[in-house]
């Protein structure tokens, strides 16, 4: 219910016009199909009295035809209006979710380590379509239909209407609530077994090598069979319950029809209604009940949406530091200074970064090495202003980094391990660096990253789609495209965050050569995992447990540090 108030109600309120229109046409649809039956029943009964003048039947004939045609039309309109309204809501929700995630961009991977969370969230938003189309709309329509039928009937006989109201409420209230209850209980179990099954299967597929070499395939298959037996059992019970519920509801509707027949028989004898209405009243029962039945189905889906909403809701929590971006003109020089820079994560016993002091003047080439957990990423986050130092300071051109907000990216670009290339053309991807770039500028950066020949050889050239079949780009080429983007952006500082991991040695060497050629005037902060290219660096820093372990230029270190010599020898083969 909490989720409902936060994520559903505001949208219902905002789009109540389209939504009420959709519901209105939904009602017309059920009404038309009920009235088709009602008027046909009346028409046939009256006709059998063989009136002298066919004009006496003119009205029912027209009505039968109208309802016969209008039902299809109103249903068509209802579906279009409904979908349109829901798509508007989804559009809003996408923007909302994006707005929620954007400030946490640099922390998402740390906060949510589970697989493809972002893909799942996008799916969750899509799933919410069903909440409106299959749950909210049908429920409102059914409730209106229920109220309308009972009120109409009460005009003839309020006691009987009360009784039928009671019977129908079994369909409209009791069964749906019962279904929801049963489903909720089962769903917990289902979810638990399913996630276990999923994680087992992931272990099997990704750990396939180990299963095969250890000869434990049989173990796995047997274990999996036991687990899935449980899930099939739960599924089966749910399905059987669904089927039995359907049968029970049908029996109930048969009984209600018989009651209607008996009531109209009595009523006709007592003169309450004309005998021509007996068939009409009796037969209309089924299409009306037909309009009420979907409600059980609609309600029992609720737990599925709750799961999606819960995930979306989790995103919202989480502290974010966000500075108002300050106005910084594009400068061509950047001086970075860190002074006793220290950071400690909340709840941690040790400093992730301890008393780090260094200065990187414009144009310097600076390499940062260290084992994982040595504090390299923390340093980066501080540099980008995503974290605020616990003590000490880190400044860019005399201004603390965390005060820049997003304006820091006017000064610093980042080429990371997996730069994301969007599903659009190569040109658009490069243009992200600078929307106002001319064609010549783009061609210049493409040449700088040495992709000009390859791209010109493609039939569509720069207009090639990133993911088009047959024109997939290799790891090295993707890095080059990302580099071109950064060159176009033209910031004084470029951070290279292990951009060559996963490339083979030849590609790596070529890429490094291109990178340093293209960035020769810029400050480069290069986080790397081995010593290739260290000769070109002005300063090399090895970090260990948040502190600087050794530092110096390649030549200095080779002379003074035994540790560096050892590593250099190792790397040199």
């Amino acid at each position: 219910m909490k989720h409902f108030n936060t994520y559903i109600k505001p949208y219902l309120r905002q789009y109540y016009r389209s939504i009420s229109l959709a519901v209105f046409f939904g009602l017309l649809t059920v009404l038309a199909s009920s009235m088709l039956t009602f008027t046909s029943g009346y028409l046939i009964s009256s006709a059998s009295l063989m009136p002298y003048n066919i004009l006496m039947l003119y009205v029912p004939i027209v009505l039968v035809r109208t309802f016969g045609i209008s039902q299809a039309v109103t249903r068509y309109i209802e579906r279009l209006i409904g979908h349109n309204a829901v798509l508007k809501i989804l559009s809003d929700m996408r923007v909302w979710l994006y707005r929620m995630l954007e400030p946490q961009a640099l922390f998402i991977r740390e906060r949510f380590q589970t697989g493809d969370l972002l893909g799942t969230l996008a799916d969750d938003i899509e799933h919410l379509q069903d909440l409106y189309i299959r749950t909210i709309f049908p429920t409102i329509v059914a409730l209106c239909l229920f109220a309308g039928s009972i009120i109409s009937l009460s005009l003839f006989d309020w006691k009987f209407a009360l009784w039928i109201g009671f019977c129908l409420s079994l369909i409209v209230v009791v069964y749906p609530v019962w279904s929801l209850f049963i489903l909720k209980k089962r769903q917990l179990k289902q979810k638990e077994v399913q996630s276990r099954l999923y994680s087992n299967l992931t272990d099997a597929v990704f750990g396939l090598t180990d299963w095969i070499i250890s000869g434990r395939e049989k173990d796995f298959i047997n274990g999996f069979h036991r687990e899935r037996e449980e899930i099939f059992e739960v599924d089966r019970r749910l399905r059987y319950w669904n089927q039995s519920r359907e049968l029970q509801l049908r029996i109930l509707s048969g009984l209600i029809l018989i009651m209607m027949a008996i009531w109209s028989g009595f009523e006709a004898q007592a003169g309450g209604i004309a005998p021509t209405y007996i068939a009409a009243f009796t037969l209309v029962t089924l299409p009306i009940i037909e309009g009420l039945l979907p409600i059980s189905h609609a309600i029992e889906r609720i737990p599925a949406y709750q799961e999606s909403l819960r995930r979306v809701g989790n995103i919202e929590r989480g502290d974010r530091h966000e500075a108002k971006p300050i106005e910084v003109g594009k400068s061509n020089a950047a001086n970075l200074v860190a002074d006793h820079l220290t950071y400690r994560y909340a709840g941690s016993q040790e400093d992730a970064l301890h008393q780090m002091s260094l200065s990187i003047p414009q144009g310097h080439k600076f390499a940062l090495l260290g084992k994982s957990g040595a504090g390299k990423s923390t340093f980066l986050q501080l540099l980008l202003g995503a974290l605020v130092p616990t003590s000490g300071k880190v400044e860019l051109n005399g201004q603390p980094c965390h005060c820049y907000g997003d304006a820091i990216f006017e000064q610093i670009s980042v080429l990371n391990q997996k730069p994301y290339l969007f599903a659009t053309t190569v040109e658009n991807n490069i243009r992200l660096g600078n929307q106002t770039a001319t064609r010549e500028e783009i061609e210049r950066v493409v040449k700088q990253v040495k992709l000009d020949q390859y791209i010109n050889s493609l039939p569509l050239g720069l207009a090639t789609q990133m993911e088009e079949t047959g024109a997939r780009f290799s790891g090295g080429e993707r890095q080059r495209i990302a580099l071109a983007r950064i060159l176009l952006k033209n910031t004084p500082v470029v951070i290279l965050d292990e951009p060559t991991v996963g490339l083979d040695p030849q590609t790596e060497a070529d890429l490094i050569e291109t990178i340093f050629e293209a960035l020769k005037d810029k400050t480069v902060i290069w986080i790397t995992h081995h010593l290739m290219g260290m000769e070109k660096m002005d300063k090399i820093v090895f970090m260990e447990k948040g502190k600087v372990a050794i530092e110096g230029s390649h030549e200095e270190l080779l002379e003074t540090s035994e540790r560096y010599q050892r590593l250099y020898e190792l790397d040199h083969g």
Binding site: Y98, T114, T209, Y240, L567, G573
Partner: protein, 574 residues
């Protein structure tokens, strides 16, 4: 119609029984209409309610039977669907193990997992819904129509004529919509994936300083997506429209026709009412078939995908051949080892001969794409060779996929898989019943003691999916601890340190070297510093074993190995 439907085991029998039930069901539908119309006619003519009660009860009885049969049909269909889905899942799983990691990787590991769980569920839904719907769509209208004709030919004609018109429109509109959808598929796909693309690229957008302004792009594209979807839906909903329109129009026509002829006294009220009740029933099966059709198609696709994987060629599994345990006197001779590419005519490994003895350490080097990984995969039996003979101590072995060979080796890849479980479970993975002492010793020798001490739960800390995440170096250490515990005489390595930072690589090397003693080792890498520790070096080029010898021998030879070494040094002097 899906021809495959007839080929599932037991599907013919299921369809036959469901068909039979449907025939009875149709008869009950007619009977309940007859009883109801008679009762209503009597009431209309002023009969006492008590006198009509038996008729109403008769109606109730047949109404009940009709839905009872529906229930039975659905339950049967579900049972069949469940059995089929279960057996498909088992087949698929067994196939995965026979295909091996590369074979599975080609289909995308993630999508295989989805196929194996959601795909199977979809297949079940498809079979469960499609079979009874399709059978009803064929049987029920025919039986009802025959009966209607015996009562009133004109109504029969109306119903008969409507059906082909309706189906023709359905197909025409379906084709039209499909054509239109196909035409804008590309832009449609781009629009629909734009949001998830934006989320995945959020970090990059942030780095580019574009993340704030991108919000407008999301709004704009969402709106365009909505427009495009609306255009498509306008067409897609037309098929439902046709179903609704023709069926309700036809019912209306029947009703009006009946009314007109009742005035002339050409037909009785009883028959007229009965026809009025039967007319919607005539259209019901095709409408419910149409409504569920699209929902079930995912399942049909899943079935096709599974069959495609099942038809793939896989590794031969031979479990019978006994082999001695590898020792210092053992000898392995391989002649003409080849592996053909599955994509084209080329060879990934071709015609390689070699011989190794006792506890030799063999380094495998070559440029990327030279076939190092495939070579290791063949030795590990993860892929089947295309040709070549293998002699183990002079005994011919059919393939490296032989159980008794695989049980003797351990394999450490670049990224060893960490199973979701505790550290202890992960280390014990190959040797599940090893003692606590052995386990602690393995932890010690793999250099994991410090890590284990730093964790709140020590050896019982959860790692892998949903547990604590480990660094690349820690993962390698876990893999090492596994091999220490299992004590197998042959060790295979595929680029175990390429992704590690240099300090971690150094540490791992220190730990690893003593573990290679008294083992037959195959070590594929492009980190050439390892080669100094090897007894024998295989140099691969374009899948062929072009050089073989010790580090010193090959350096002196100034051939391919020398070239590799100088290239690596040259590459460094950027």
């Amino acid at each position: 119609m899906d021809k495959q439907l007839l080929r599932y085991e037991g599907s013919k029998k299921t369809m036959f029984i469901i068909g039979l039930l449907t025939v009875f069901q149709s008869v009950f539908i007619i009977l309940h209409a007859v009883f109801l119309s008679t009762a209503l006619t009597k009431l209309f003519k002023g009969a006492a309610v008590n006198a009509v009660l038996p008729l109403l009860l008769g109606f109730g009885g047949f109404f009940f039977l009709r839905h009872l049969l529906q229930w039975a049909k659905e339950r049967m269909a579900y049972r069949f669907a469940e059995t089929t889905a279960l057996s498909y899942q088992t087949l698929l799983l067994e196939k995965l193990f026979r295909l091996g990691p590369r074979g599975v990787g080609r289909h995308g590991s993630g999508s295989v997992i989805t196929l194996c769980l959601e795909g199977i569920t979809n297949l079940r839904t498809y079979l469960e819904l499609f079979i009874p719907r399709a059978v009803s769509m064929i049987c029920t209208p025919i039986i009802l129509l025959v009966y209607v004709f015996t009562v009133d030919a004109l109504s029969g004609v109306v119903l008969l004529v409507t059906m082909p018109i309706m189906i023709a429109f359905l197909i025409l509109l379906g084709l039209l919509a499909q054509k239109k959808i196909d035409a804008q598929m590309d832009s449609y796909r781009l629009l629909s994936s734009h949001f998830v693309d934006s989320l995945r690229g959020l970090v990059t957008l942030k780095f580019l300083g574009k993340s704030k302004s991108h919000e407008h792009a999301i709004r704009a594209v969402s709106e365009r997506y909505r427009m495009a979807t609306n255009r498509t839906l306008r067409l897609a909903f037309l098929s439902t429209f046709a179903l609704d329109f023709f069926s309700s129009l036809s019912v209306a026509v029947v009703a009006v026709e009946l009314g007109l002829r009742l005035i002339d006294g050409k037909i009785g009220l009883e028959s007229a009412l009965m026809l009025l009740i039967l007319a919607p029933e005539y259209f019901l099966p095709i409408r419910s078939f149409g409504n569920d059709y699209h929902a079930t198609m995912d399942g049909k696709d899943a079935g096709d995908k599974i069959r495609k994987i099942l038809s793939q060629e896989d590794r031969k599994l031979i479990n019978t051949q006994p082999l001695p345990r590898w020792n210092e006197a053992s000898c392995l001779a391989v002649r003409g080892l080849s592996k053909a590419s599955t994509e084209d005519e080329s060879f990934i490994v071709k015609n390689s001969d070699f011989e190794v003895k006792g506890f030799q350490k063999i380094g495998i080097v070559g440029k990327s794409g030279a076939g190092k990984s495939t070579f290791i995969d063949l030795l590990a039996g993860l892929r089947d060779k295309s040709s070549g003979t293998i002699l183990f101590d002079g005994i011919e072995v059919e393939s490296f996929t032989v159980d008794e060979w695989q049980r003797q080796l351990s394999y450490i890849p670049q990224h060893p898989y960490i199973f979701s479980g505790t550290i202890a479970e992960n280390i014990r993975w190959y040797a599940q019943h090893s003692s606590k002492e052995d386990l602690l010793l393995a932890v010690e020798r793999a250099g994991l003691s410090e890590l284990v001490k730093s964790l709140p739960n020590g050896l019982d800390e959860k790692i892998g999916q949903g547990g604590r995440s480990l660094s690349g170096g820690e993962e390698q250490r876990i893999a090492l601890a596994r091999t220490i515990l299992q004590e197998r005489p042959i060790m295979l390595f595929d680029e175990p340190t390429a992704h590690l930072d240099i300090e971690t690589e150094y540490e791992i090397k220190e730990l690893l070297l003593p573990l290679l003693e008294r083992k037959l080792v195959f070590f594929a890498t492009h980190r050439l510093h390892w080669m100094k520790e090897m007894d024998l070096i295989f140099v691969l080029q374009e899948g062929q074993l072009v050089e073989c010898g010790s580090h010193e021998e090959l350096l002196a030879k100034k051939g391919h190995y020398f070239e590799l070494i100088s290239a690596a040094k040259g590459g460094r002097g950027v």
